[in-house]
Amino acid sequence: MPDRRIRVLVAKPGLDGHDRGAKVIARALRDAGMEVIYTGLRQTPEMIVSAALQEDVDVIGLSILSGAHNALVPRLMQLLRDKEMSDVIVILGGIVPDADIPQMKEQGVAAVFQPGASLEDIVSTIHRLKDKN
């Protein structure tokens, strides 16, 4: 495939409305030359997967701050498998305690960014994961 800009869906699942992180990341990825689609708030895993399919994205970036990742991420990953979209890279940012990271990785999440992660690190991780894919 010719050089296509990396397409990222920034998604905010769950009931939480704290979108500062999601919006800063969306802008930073755009500034880094990626095409970014932001889903807006309170998206169900079904809505996120459907948006990812429609927008033909390479990456889904989930922002979850409420502690609901243990319920939401497995559902989303199952939906991606059901739709044969496992090539979509899923990264997760937010308040995810160390103890939950192994489970997120087992589910297929490629990278987890905890509070204090730098934008530079997030951008370079996406490039690295995309190159591997």
Binding site: L15, R20, K23, V24, R27, G67, I95, G116, L119
Partner: protein
């Protein structure tokens, strides 16, 4: 390691330039009689009481709530036994969004960010053994505020406590939800009507209740500057006053019960100036814009919380120092009540041990530091007075912009405050990346191997327990009465009547939060924002 500093950018945390030295020349436009007055006197820059903390310390009010009502009730009894002077309820996300614990959208969220309350039965459990006439209770609830308030009022009825005597605060500030925190259900205008209903009902029936806590906290947490926090909050206040006046209420009848809630962030002097400017601008606004005559209408009474977004997940014990400095700024700024964050809150809701250190931090300031002895001890500082005047000027400039847009609701609909905040938060993140701004342990002075912090884990069984209680409730209550009261509420919502009496009837019949909010959803619809990134 080099100790030579990089070229320093001497700006406040919000990016305002700071001079090396402030002298009388910086205060050429400053008139102490006009701009300062005395504590307890016009224009209230120095505080709302003449005696300030000699007369009464601030209320130490730690926000708490998690899991089931039983678990949170135990935490309240513990906090009260440790000398905390008021309660502050944190609700979980389903409650904040008006969903019952057994709703599909509640999956994974029940009891996680606060306590799960779906009905009067849960509220009765939450306040079991706590006489509501003897404590003041603050409830952080917005879109469904009138419903949760009604539950509290019915708990008071059941304890034979007089509505005339109970006191507390419902946050009930819907405008900042559209601006910043985004926990809204209905569109802005019907939401404003519900807020106005509570203000009107409070004036007539619950005179010591603060029906609204007009909040800058969440605006700041969303990434605003200090001035944006102040300007958007006070401008929201103007909007609420306009709606209540439009309803036919006399400004001096309700304005004394309006209260505010600010953030105390890490830039010490910028925050103190913000609190001082808040009082002055609000007093001027109430007198000059609304013609308030009652002195109590002029007072900007506020609660403060230290800045959650300043807490670091890295080296979390440093957060105790951050919180202490932020709390000190709030006290020097003259706050009426204070919540200090716990050291572990970048990771989770606080453990009991962490919450106790946070409370003790306030007690150290109150009882050991000596800062409570003199009112407004920084008054007259060239630097602080300059910052206060500048904050006032910049706040009034935002007022003019928002007025020109047609008021706050029109400004929100156009995304004006949302865009201002998004720009400021991106700018701050960029400054962190380049180390123009420093967060200790995050972008400077990092360490690699940190011992894991003990965290509060919310038992996943809360959802099952709350679901089971709802099943039992729906089976045991008088369902005919429930549907009658809900139908009456829906009819009232379609008209112009005050909805509070109808909500109270639904609550007394044990209609659930979700059922009551669904009645409103049917009438008002729900709101979807256009996201600004």
């Amino acid at each position: 390691m080099s100790v030579v500093l990089d070229k320093p950018a001497y700006t406040t945390l919000s990016g305002k330039p700071i001079e090396r030295l402030y002298t009388p020349a910086d205060l050429a436009d400053f008139d102490p009689a006009r701009d300062l007055g005395e504590p307890g006197s016009w224009p209230y820059t120095r505080g709302i009481h003449a005696t300030m903390y000699r007369g009464k310390l601030w209320t130490m009010r730690q926000f708490a709530g998690f899991g089931t009502p039983e678990e949170t009730n135990r935490r309240y009894h513990y906090l009260l036994s440790q000398g905390q002077s008021g309660l502050s309820v944190a609700f979980d996300l389903p409650t904040l969004m008006g969903y019952d614990a057994d709703h599909m959208q509640s999956e994974g969220e029940v009891g996680k960010c606060g306590v799960a309350i779906s009905s009067l039965a849960d509220m009765e459990t939450l306040f079991d053994g706590i006489p509501v006439e003897q404590v003041t209770t603050s409830m952080t609830i917005n879109s469904p505020a009138s419903v949760l308030w009604a539950m509290y009022l019915v708990v008071a009825e059941k304890q034979n406590a007089s509505w005339e005597k109970i006191s507390g605060t419902t946050q009930n500030d819907i405008l900042k939800e559209y601006i910043a925190q985004k926990e809204y259900i209905y569109p802005p205008r019907p939401s404003m009507r519900l807020v106005t209903d509570t203000i009107e009902f409070g004036v007539k029936h619950v005179p010591r209740w603060n029906p609204i806590s007009i909040s800058g906290y969440h605006i700041r947490e969303a990434g605003s500057t200090a001035v944006q926090e102040l300007a958007f909050t006070l401008r929201d206040g103007i909007e609420y006053v306009e709606w209540a006046v439009e309803r036919g209420l006399a400004v001096d009848d309700f304005a004394p019960r309006l209260s505010f809630f600010f953030n105390s962030h890490s830039d010490f002097f910028e925050e103190i100036a913000k609190f001082r400017a808040a009082r002055k601008v609000w007093a001027q606004t109430m007198r000059d814009r609304f013609g308030a005559k009652n002195e109590r209408s002029l007072l900007c009474r506020f609660h403060t919380q230290t800045a959650g977004c300043s807490l670091t997940a890295q080296q979390p014990y440093n957060n105790v120092a951050r919180t202490a400095l932020q709390a000190l700024a709030a006290v020097l700024g003259g706050t009426q009540s204070l919540h200090t964050n716990s050291l572990d809150e970048a990771w989770a809701l606080p453990t009991e041990e962490a919450a106790l250190i946070a409370l003790r931090t306030q007690q150290v300031i109150a009882y050991e530091s000596g800062v409570t002895a003199a009112a407004d001890p920084l008054g007259g500082s060239y630097f602080v007075e300059r910052l206060t005047l500048d904050t006032e000027r910049d706040t009034l400039e935002y007022f003019r912009k928002i007025d020109a847009l047609g008021g706050m609701i029109a400004a929100i609909e156009r995304g004006f405050p949302q865009r201002e905040i998004a720009d400021a938060s991106y700018e701050f993140q960029r400054a962190l990346e380049t180390q123009e701004k420093v967060m200790v342990g995050v972008n400077k002075f990092n360490t690699s191997d940190e011992a894991p912090l003990p965290l509060l884990v919310i038992d996943e069984s809360a959802a099952a327990q709350q679901t089971e209680k709802l099943r039992h409730l729906r089976a045991s209550r008088d369902n005919k009465r429930v549907s009658e009261t809900l139908r009456a509420l829906e009819t009232a919502a379609r008209g112009t009547a005050n909805t509070m009496p109808y909500i109270l009837d639904c609550v007394r019949a044990y209609a659930t939060l979700g059922e009551i909010c669904d009645a409103f959803r049917t009438v008002f619809g729900t709101y979807e924002e256009t996201s600004i990134t």
